[in-house]
Symmetry: C2
Subunit: 203 residues, 2 copies
């Protein structure tokens, strides 16, 4: 159970409340399962706070659909109908970004950059309370999106917007810029014993 | 993105389908955030499959409420109203187990054991598709619940029931019994820099 107590109290001139409610950049990296599921679990907490949730999946395939997508879309509809929780937007690169008129493209580098640029506009406008940039480390790792541009946009974002980024191979500049970095480490994985991926677990 | 491909194919006489759809015991341990959020993210995938979700939080306080609880209760009501997803039960030790007539008790060891015994009955009856035993490693670590009894109940459970257990200090016998073990490892935590816990992030 998290105790919520800091190990040191900084001399930064901030009040406890100011220090408590800071927008965080959170990075879930490492080789193991749990990076995306933990990001979506965190987004559930934000939904419960009534915050606007923006999910941006940097996946190549339109067919890649995780169970969380259905659940979050249901929670978004619930918000529209009853006011409970917060609004939800779910965008997926592989099927063509929903704000774009283009269908899914083979030019993944261009699609990834377009996705990032939209996120940067939203960050500058303070549009969401929580951003989940799922699998976003890969376009950074492959150089499709400039990590310095991302770090600058995160640093300069106004208001109280949390950003959660998932994926392996996180560039060091992103690790340096993040407030919280969790590495999902493998102790044991059933695929080592011949287990295949299965519904409800991998998607 | 998970590829879902095993690194070896075992000689176990099972068909691919049998091997694919196996009930898993999953353990999220380690010192870092993400253990519970990833478990609840996984439960979202199960909910989307239409499976019955049973959450059992081994927390001492009735006041400890995470955002996921509200969201899952909303998803459970949605299922009752529309048939979408699966049914959801959420039980919390600190406020007195909901099947018990007793209010929250100071005897945490007895309460933890009572919670486990109910879970064991449900496992034997095949009641849920996904069990989240949140913070369950602590009663095991403290000896309130016998780990060998737990391992035997997990091993002998019928049907297709996934079990996700979270918490630090997982006993070695539980690690040995689990199919999938993820350790959440700290790379960087804002509490090291004086950041306090905050809503939407820690709860």
């Amino acid at each position: 159970m998290p105790q919520g107590q800091p190990s040191v109290v900084p001399v930064d001139g901030l009040t406890t409340r100011q220090r408590r409610n800071r927008p965080l950049t959170i990075l879930h990296t490492g080789e193991m399962k749990g990076k995306s599921t933990a990001a979506f679990g965190l987004a559930l907490r934000g939904w419960n706070q009534g915050w606007s949730i923006g999910v941006f999946q940097f996946v190549k395939s339109a067919r890649w659909k995780v169970g969380e997508e259905t659940a979050f879309r249901a929670l978004g509809r619930l918000h529209e109908q009853t006011g409970e929780g917060g609004p939800v937007e779910w965008h997926k690169m592989g099927e063509g970004w929903s704000w774009s008129r283009k269908a899914g493209t083979e030019d993944h580098a261009a699609a990834a950059l377009e996705g990032w640029r939209e996120i940067a506009r939203r960050l500058a406008a303070g549009q969401h309370g929580v951003y989940v940039l799922d699998e976003f480390t890969y376009p950074l790792h492959w150089g499709w999106v400039d990590v310095d541009e991302v770090v600058a946009a995160l640093r300069d974002r106004p208001g109280h917007q949390h950003v959660v980024i998932t994926g392996r191979y996180a560039p060091q500049a992103l690790v340096d810029a993040a407030d919280l970095v969790v590495e999902m480490t493998k102790v044991k994985h059933p695929m080592d014993a011949g287990q295949k991926g299965q519904k409800g677990i991998e998607w």
